[in-house]
Amino acid sequence: MSDQTQPAERASSPLAETVQMFLKNHAAVVALVVLTCIVIGAVVGPFVYPNDPFDMVWAPFSPPGEEGYIFGTDYLGRDLAAMIVHGAQVSLTIGLAAAFMSVFIGITIGALAGFYRGWVEEVLMRFTEFFQVLPTLLFSMVIVALFGASLVTVTIAIGAVSWTAVARITRAEFLRIRELEYVMASRSAGAGNLKLMFGVILPNAAPPIIVQAALMVGTAILFEAGLSFLGLTDPNVVSWGQIIGSNRQYILDAQWTVTIPGLAIFVTVLAISLVGDGLNDALNPKLRQR
């Protein structure tokens, strides 16, 4: 993504070097494989389990493995495996969409603040601090409560409260890069503000923002899980947190209805943060010597 701005006489291309660095981090590679499997499962799974996951299929509380239901059934006799697979789609989609939204807001605010400085920076950073003061989960609970619990409101509620870290990182990078010589050079070559911000500075500020964005997906999935655990999502759509929330009264009879979906969230978020770590190693040249 930053090919045009890298010096042309580099021995190997920056992309190849990054991939090489990433492959050296074994945990990250394993995590990436696991993550790919989860995504494939989420895409293919609903074809394997084409029926509505809310349908009752077998006696309630039958343990994993019984009658061919690999994850068993829940308190209403629903196939837990089908619910997990359908839930994967919802959790991953909301996670990605909310992360995308928060990265977009964060980059816009951070870029404007770091580029224009002065009162623009002052106002935008105060705005960011304001959002840091509000407890995010509580704030998004309020948004969902007041404006209804649909997948769209949930996504917006998560995205609207979790952009502050991206904004701070973007601003810090912009503050550093805007003083560098090649930015001055572009400016004197007649580049406009927009071109400088998004064509020159942003590609060079990208590595830490990409790492943060990857971690954001994990945070957003956790966030969605928390909201749906509390019952604050669309009640007609399965998601991992919701399975846990609706089954938690029955942990005495059926622990697997809580442990298995929780494990799904845990493994997914863990894989994402390990991939994020790998990206950090690969994209941060200062760490390459370590």
């Binding site: 601090e129 304001f130 840091q132 003061v133 509000l134 407890p135 995010t136 989960l137 509580l138 704030f139 609970m141 309020v142 948004i143 969902v144 409560a145 007041l146 404006f147 994990g218 956790l222 899980a225 928390g226 655990f229 509390l230 019952g231 604050l232 947190g241 846990i244 938690r248 942990i251 005495l252 622990q255 809580v258 442990t259 929780g262 969230i265 845990f266 978020v269 863990l270 943060s273 390990l274």
Partner: protein
């Protein structure tokens, strides 16, 4: 004099933030479908349009936005947060009843997370490639990735159901007959263990990781080498010279994390039926009790702002570098 001035600026700024929270609260309430008249009508099983009109006039809902906003801000600043039609109580009273439970949970969890986190961080920094260091890294990864309500349920299954060491839910044992003050305290602490540890698990990981990084950086600096050359013992170097300097970023983070702790508390309180603001918030949302919901958002923002202010002051006392710098 300079110090006093910068503290006053911080306080003025905190008040401004608080007013911004109130404005946001009101704007959301204004934009959301349904109003107080609808809630009252709902609670009393329906009302005809004339009565609804009368209620709207009585509550000033027919006034323009700006006037309503002004009235609302004025009321909230006098700590009048309205009336809960669901609980039949002033919102302020409701929240004051629930606040001690939440504060107890949140503060205990923060203190546990800070102490254990810093200890783990120091231990792993003293031996960066040892087993303890890998353990801290693994532990940190778990804390980041496990949903806190799931951690809570797992602990509940393990330590209240399989091995019944701790109570399953609540904050008090209601079956105790005429307990003395001491038994009450022990009882509450007994109920507190699992929720506090669950909530601490998220932040413990964060603090241990940061403390490890800060310690590694400090232990590599010149004055530590000087201390070694002076012949000070390892313990003295690590705890007296090293930790003192590594602590400041950890305290800063702990202050910044406080709003996240409050968020986590909502989930933990729900898992353990802890009678705090978090369970109240959830009940209020299910009952569509808007004044209570907004009251809790305001209150938690108030707590976070105050904690940030206190962190700032604490940092000034423990770290002289900040005292001389600009605010």
């Amino acid at each position: 004099m300079n110090l006093l001035r910068s503290i006053l600026i911080r306080i003025a700024y905190a008040v401004a933030l608080l007013i911004a929270v109130i404005v946001l609260n009101f704007t959301m309430m204004y934009l959301a479908p349904g109003d107080v008249a609808d809630t009252i009508a709902q609670a009393s099983g329906g009302a005809d349009p004339e009565v609804m009109e009368a209620i709207r006039r009585e509550y000033g809902l027919d006034q323009p936005f700006i006037i309503q906003l002004g009235t609302y801000v004025g009321k909230v600043l006098q700590l009048d947060l309205g009336y809960s039609f669901f609980y039949n109580q002033p919102v302020m009273q409701l929240m004051l009843d629930r606040l001690p439970a939440t504060l107890l949970l949140v503060l205990t969890a923060q203190i546990v997370a800070l102490i254990v986190g810093v200890l783990l961080g120091v231990i792993s920094a003293r031996n960066p490639n040892g087993i303890s260091s890998h353990f801290v890294t693994l532990f940190a990864l778990f804390g980041y990735s496990a949903p806190v309500f799931w951690t809570g349920i797992l602990l509940l299954i393990a330590f209240s159901l399989l091995v019944p060491l701790f109570p399953v839910a609540g904050m008090r044992d209601v079956t105790l007959e005429d307990p003395s003050f001491f038994t009450q305290v022990v009882d509450v602490l007994h109920h507190l263990v699992l929720p506090a540890f669950t909530l601490a698990s998220i932040f413990l990981a964060l603090y241990s990781r940061l403390c490890r990084a800060a310690m590694l950086e400090v232990l590599g600096s010149d004055y530590i080498r000087t201390a070694k050359a002076k012949g000070l013992s390892d313990r003295q170097i690590v705890y007296k010279h090293g930790l003192k300097n590594a602590l400041s970023p950890v305290v800063t983070l702990a202050g910044l994390q406080f709003s996240a702790v409050v968020s986590g508390a909502v989930l933990v309180e729900t898992v353990f039926s802890w009678p705090g603001l978090g369970t109240l918030a959830l009940q209020a949302i299910i009952a569509r009790d808007t004044p209570v919901i907004l009251g809790i958002l305001f209150f938690s923002a108030l707590v976070v702002i105050m904690v940030n202010l206190i962190t700032d002051l604490v940092l000034r006392t423990i770290d002289p570098r900040i005292r001389t710098g600009s605010a």
